[in-house]
Amino acid sequence: MESNIFSSSKDVFLDAVNAKDYVQLDRVSTIYQSLKNSVKKPLKMVLLYGKPGTGKSMFLSKLYQDLSSSQQVHLYQTPILDESEFFKTLSKDLFNIKYIGELNFTQFLVILNENNLYDIPLVLLDEAQLYSSEQMEKIRLLADTRKIKFVITLHKTEREDLIAKEHFQTRIWETIELENASAVELKMYIQKKLMKANCFDGANIFNNKSVQLIHKITKGNYRDTNKLLYTVFDIYTWYSENNPSKINTRQISNKIIEMAAIHTGLIDA
């Protein structure tokens, strides 16, 4: 019985980006609102950046889900690194033109000029730091035609900061930074996530102190928190199956949090 509670709670923290699992957090939702607004503005391009695990991909898929019913929107979660392949995919998705053979940038510009869409399509590009700077420059030029809008995400590292400077700062791009959660936000995140999956028992075992310990270990990073809590519930599952006397089902134990942190490498022992 109990092991079921733990294993279902465990699955909540599988690291997957799925718009239906999106939880509404205060700061996140204001940022999300401003993102939605800037997408509506003409000529606005949006750069979403932040450290890995701050929820950029989650944002994009949520945006995709919310907008797809009202406008043309396309999400590319993994970058299409081959240039010809990239333009061929765009022409197929945006204009329903299946191109055979190579398609270069100038040829794609011709297609773009010939096909005036009433509604400007929105293209969401995740993990844009993987694109080469030449490819990035071409994406920017496409945006300058005002015939396609882009929202792209970037991991924030020094190198990517440089790309951001070169390509976006002087342009008409709007930049939005995503950050790690505060301890309060992290508690909301954990509890909302569990409640959403109907794991009420799982949600109730987290008090402020244990959340503070989790926050200290993960620094509020959503991905690290997922990793940690997945292992925490994994350990709980093991105990409830093999040594149930060792666990308290009403309050999460710091020891188990720390054991999970050791197992996931978030703290080294």
Binding site: D234, I235, W238, Y239, E258, M259, I262, I267, A269
Partner: protein
Amino acid sequence: MLNIYDLEKKWLTYKIKSFLPVISIFIALLIIIIAIYLFVDLKKLNILDTTIPSTITKKQENNISNAVQESLKKETPVVQSKDISQEIVTPTRVEEAIQLPPRNETPSHEKNILEPSMAFMETMQSKPLRQTTNTQKTVPKNTVQVPKKQTATTITQKPQTQLTHETNSITIKKQNTYEDIEYVIKRFKKNNNPALSLFVAKKYYELGEYKQAYNYALITNEINNNIEASWIIFSKSLVKLNQKAKAIQTLQQYINHSDSNQAKLLLKEILSGKFK
């Protein structure tokens, strides 16, 4: 996939490791405290001349210092005060005190060392009180009661100190030295602290009682053979007792063992005949 037993072990070592800094900080603090304590002790050894008399009289509290101070206050009828302070100021010592003036002439400067230390102690008692009242008076007078109380205490304090200053005659100082020695010997017999025996050696040396100085320096060295000042007094006493060769031999051995600069200097002075 999950090896809980292994993980529990790792967790335990992690916990111990995370407590290590706390424990080491605690140990470091303890060592520092001990070091400071030892350092203060050493300092006492080095500046015994000035510190010990005052510290001793301070520690006695109700014993000698008060008795002496009382006798000092009742300055004119000296004989009476001796009777009152029964314990320490025994009749024999009073006689000594009376006889003292002629003796004083020889080691007069050494008594001068004692005098400022006493004055220092007395001002120590009275000063802080005066200072606090002064500062509190200049700072806004918030409440009327508090300054009043403090001035009251200073008033009672002042006459005491003034009295003692006025009555600081040489004879009493001399008496103090002998009383100090007596008292320190008593204490030394109780706790065998080399700082005390060294103090006694120094005092006897100052009083020209070189045999006693030699004895107490020897005792000190037996308890702790690393006290520079004790070896110096020991060697000096030997010279004074016409045992120059033995003094030189002792100093040389001590220098070999400790590389003491003060010992080297003394040896030089003895060899050159500067110190007799």
